[in-house]
Subunit: 137 residues, 4 copies
């Protein structure tokens, strides 16, 4: 499959935990953000530059499945994959597993609109569509 | 309809915002938590007591639709509704709108397993099932 | 003493806890923000309007003493007091206790510069200085 | 000087920003946590193992000076230094600068008590005191 994909590893921070001794559910969306940020950087043009060119990718939908525990300081492996479900939508699929064992932690996706600096929907520029088709190893 | 439902109002905190000048996406899951916490309290037995009796309701699935902006200090109205999609699952539907105008901000749901203090799935006690059927005004 | 002071009550959220089963340290600064936000509102002109008039109060210094535990769902009482240690500085002293017992949870302060929309230091407008001298009951 | 010191680099996340387009103040305490976590790991015994041996280092005091802006995706350099101001206290001094320019972002410290699993103050074990005296490059 030709969708660009990227892996980052990170540790569960103390601030990610709650009193159930696993990660607090909302933190997953921060992890997903980390993953798509680094995927976009790997494509060759950091998201910050996208914003500088007047493009925003606000999240319009998010879904998470919580598959297993992850404790403070566990090393996690997050794989992010980019696709375009329609001409005006970006989708990032995210999967987090324990780096040591591969045990699933959580997975899900975020769907993003493409809007201009005033928040109005816009057709993605050609360079964005081209990036979404790049195959990363 | 007989599912218990509850409304809380709260303001967008500065800490909820990000540089797009609206609420950061992960914060919604903290709002949803606030809503279900107060719904459970309104049912007559705060969630803290559920945990004291050895029951946990970890989130196993979450879904969010982002419907509109909400700025710092906006007063929001969050409606939470409880249902049981199966014998061993609780579901909270959450809807956030601008309190002044009713303009939609976001909505979604969380699905919760019922587990014991060791994290093992358990049949919900009868009092929990009874609470889930209570009709609140 | 004539410095304006204000009280808010709030509950410890699940998202405020960490695996030590008390509040995570960084969350205190969000609580302090909540307190000063409501103090400023009680003075008669919400901070949002301050920003609309081109004034920003970025935090330039923060100090926290952690005095005791607070568990999920504990009802806390936060007292905020405003003063002006110099012509161009606002200071908020914050004190959090258990509402039920008065047991100390944490206290501290934040010191704020007064800057314009470009981040440049500015003399506080007269209305701001007047507000800082108001005595609230 | 003989106090152990350690450097980590990290990027400002979108979730770290607020509507002033710089990092939100509370996030600094999460960064400081990241720094001391990696400093402790570099000493040879991750903090998780400290907790496994029945020792906790709750923060009892925190201080932050906010020195300058940092925008989303900026690469920051955080230097953490460990010292023992008394027999029963650990102190971490933290300094964050822009990695590219050295421009100051924030600095401060956290002071930590040494307590057992019941939260009672305890004398730090000899291995902890020895670690605090190790000189890292």
């Amino acid at each position: 499959m030709s969708n660009p994909s990227h892996v980052v590893r990170f540790r569960v921070r103390y601030s990610d935990t709650d009193q159930m001794k696993t990660y607090y559910n909302a933190r997953v969306l921060e992890w997903f953000e980390l993953g798509r940020n680094e995927l976009i950087r790997a494509l060759g043009k950091p998201y910050r530059l996208w914003e500088n060119e007047g493009v925003r990718l606000p999240v319009c939908e998010a879904h998470i499945q919580f598959d297993g525990m992850a404790e403070y300081d566990d090393l996690l492996k997050l794989t992010s994959t980019l696709s375009m479900p329609s001409r005006a939508r970006f989708r990032f699929d995210s999967r987090v597993v324990q780096d040591a064992t591969g045990a699933p932690v959580c997975h899900g996706y975020t769907i993003h609109a493409v809007v201009d600096t005033l928040g109005r929907p816009m057709r993605p520029p050609a360079w964005m569509v081209a990036l979404a088709g790049i195959e990363l190893k």
